[in-house]
Amino acid sequence: MILIFLIVVLLLGGILAAISARWSRQLPRWISLAAIAVDLVLAARIWTGRSFSASQAWYDEVNWNWIPSFGIHFHLAVDGLSFLMLILTFFIGIIAVLCSWTEIREKIGFFHFNLMWVLAGIVSVFLAMDVFLFYFAWELMLIPMYFLIVIWGHEQRVYAATKFFLFTQCSGLLMLIAILALYFMHHQSTGVYTFEYSELLGTTLSGGAELAIMLGFFVAFAVKLPVVPLHTWLPDAHTEAPTAGSVILAGLLLKTGGYGLLRFVIPLFPRAAHEFTPVALALGVIGIIYGAVMAFSQTDLKRLVAYTSVSHLGFVLLGIFSWNPLALQGAIMTMICHGLSTGALFVLVGGLQERIHTRDLNRMGGLWTVVPHLSASALFFSLASLGLPGLGDFVGEFLVLLGSYKVSVALTVVATLGILASTFYALRMMQRAFFGPNTNSWQLPDLTPREVLIMAVMIIGLLWLGFFPQPVLNTFAPAMDNLQREVQMPAAALRSEP
């Protein structure tokens, strides 16, 4: 039941926040913070109340009949993978509320309504174990995100929001066709109509059909992740969104793509995924290099950070499709740490824009002397982003490379060049924005206590993940074993056949 509360608290929090805006400008913010805090407490209760027996795949689950005539269940469940994603969601959610504290001055109630509902949608995506419910949540989380961009975004917001929506909807509908194809083919082989994840695992499919259906799923997740060449919505959406929107996009929405690949694509279609591996790995490496090169050539600071996401999530794709323990652990670490480091960079860019009203690198320079704390924080997260050892991102990318080395040496070498390239864009950003003479004679206030708090929390988080990644990896391990077992069973069956 806790799982239901996780979602309901956010939904109700959103409604309350919208209503409370009539009486106070601060109340919606506090209500949103309170709702997420309540969810964090609930998540802690799931953690303490989880069962340790190996037979129990889930920490907790809810399974209700929803639309019986189609075999659809309202099935929520949480394992180590989902749990990590939930914690990340609540953490980033709090950051999103805090970083919009002064940025959002109009329509505050409706803003927090959308913020809470997009979080609720993301939580549902991470919890859904019925494929129909997953699709339902997958589509539903787009609407509030769309509103966040289109109402509170910057100059090109309508264009960016529409592009974002059309890309995700089109790929989502292709996934819906794939889901339905899987549903009917499962019925053909077993006589049971069901959307239940655990039952669809191990559906026997002919080779061609398996590949086609897998591609339907893959496209939807590849648009979200994003995988080059389906990434073109991302720089626009990230750049035009308000800070909280960018933080949620980078920190959470992109992660739903990685989560989908981990949870659905490879376990449901192990053989097709195996055939597809070379292509996926190549796409991952292309994304790493392409994102880094594009980031290097941007003059819009926010766009620059957006392209670094393309590069970092290339590592996630590389790790997931390498599909060995090291690479998978690296992928999950990268997903979490990218959420923190890139989220923090977006907060900083947002803060900077609030002060100087531009994101143009050419109009910056010499800011270190003006806003030393802000600049130092930016340096920290740039270093995290370029993979400095001791910070979380390094652990993730290093593990991915270790894992992918076993699969393809050549691609790993090229991917390593991507880390090198990240040094260039990160240092260029620091140099152009913060070092050098203060040619524009900026006089700006430095970080406020609220911003210091955000930065401190994120810095501590990244340091902790960098030095002590083991708790995260341990949490993920049982879930990873389950996923790998699903994949190895058909493979083992194939081997033992002759």
């Binding site: 929001a161 819906l176 339905l180 549903y183």
Partner: protein, 479 residues
Amino acid sequence: MNTTMNASDTLALLPLLILAGTAIVVMLGIAVKRSHELTAGLTLTGLAASFLSACAVAPLVPRQVTSLLLIDGYALFYLGLIIASAAVVAVLSFQYFAKHDGQREELYLLLLLATLGCGVLVTSVHFASFLLGLEILSVSLYGMVAYFTGRGQALEAGIKYLILASASAAFLLFGMALIYAATGIMAFSSIRNLSLGGSDLALLLPGIALSVTGIGFKLGVVPFHLWTPDVYQGAPAPVAAFVATTSKTAVVALLLRFLGAGTHQSPAVFFLFSVIAVASMCAGNLLALRQNNVKRILAYSSIAHFGYILVAFLAGTTMGAGAVAFYLVAYTVTILAAFGIITVLSTSEADADDLEDYRGLFWRRPVLASVFTAVLLSLAGIPATMGFVGKFYILASGANAAAWPLMVVLVLTSVIGLFYYLRIVVTLFSDVPEQQFSMQELERGGAFVLGGLAVLLIGFGVYPAPLLNLIRATIGALN
């Protein structure tokens, strides 16, 4: 076949008889005392009585009443939908015409007659009753579309509808004649059971093609769609709602009876409908892109939506019929809500159909704009609305029949569709312009209806099981 009617047959016809009786009562009422409230009240009472009687006669069915009409679960389901949507149109009309002077009462008479025509269509199993129902509907609609004789656009729309509907009826009649010449039978069931082969084909296929012209015109599918945008724009908003929902629902219900699942074995008919479906999905969505008039956008989107419905029709089987039924309910609820909002915002001078009328509506009328947003998301097929479940059902029936090309067209064109729905949503949520808007009071009737429709829209979108069960129980009677 028996031609005499017994008491039970009469009882089974009760929903239709009540509709006809109400029309007479309303006509006499207008002759005695001209009162807008009284006429609308009588109309609603009659529609409510007819709806209740449709529920009450459910245990008696299926029952063939003469060779013309068949009252079964299928007919009763669609009768219920038609009567309910007509009642909503009546409430909206009351709200709409209260702002106007002049003789408003006859509209309800025409509305009742048109509903009766729809009722005859959904129960019809014979060419004679088919034509009878269609003409009752069409003739009433001419009057309703051109009800504002003072408005140029309304007259243009009415004349356009009159000429094109008469022409299509002539095609339909000729098609019927050809089918009759080929088979010697005028009942639908006999045509469906007939094997499509041999020498009959030369007459039968042209006959079916010509009948499809008549049906396609009423549905407004490509290439018979040219009247749709003009009639939607010219007709008063509630009348446009009736044309969009009730009359189209009745014709779709008839189409399934007429061609059923059996004719899908004929490749020529399958091909014909595939072409119409694909053309409608593409043309409807593409043509809507450049419109700035909300009514015209709804018109073009309706062309696309009936393309989607034809995909489910082509998929056939009980699942396809169920998908058609669910989608029609979803579409009816959604479109009635859309026209309800247009009605509520319209003034006595003009309908609120310009996109600019809706700029920043959310910040002026949050509840109304939220309902409209839900409507648009439902039309776009976004989860938590009925439109999503309907689209899901259609795609499911398509996957069941392995109609992959049609499904891919449906998905790609509906993404195009998303674009213009989002345009309206953006307008609703954009900043309020400087100039003052006339604030129309939301009356209780309109608020009640809109609220109810919104609850249905979201309620069945989140928990569609009850409606799915009802459809499963009634539509199963078709085959």
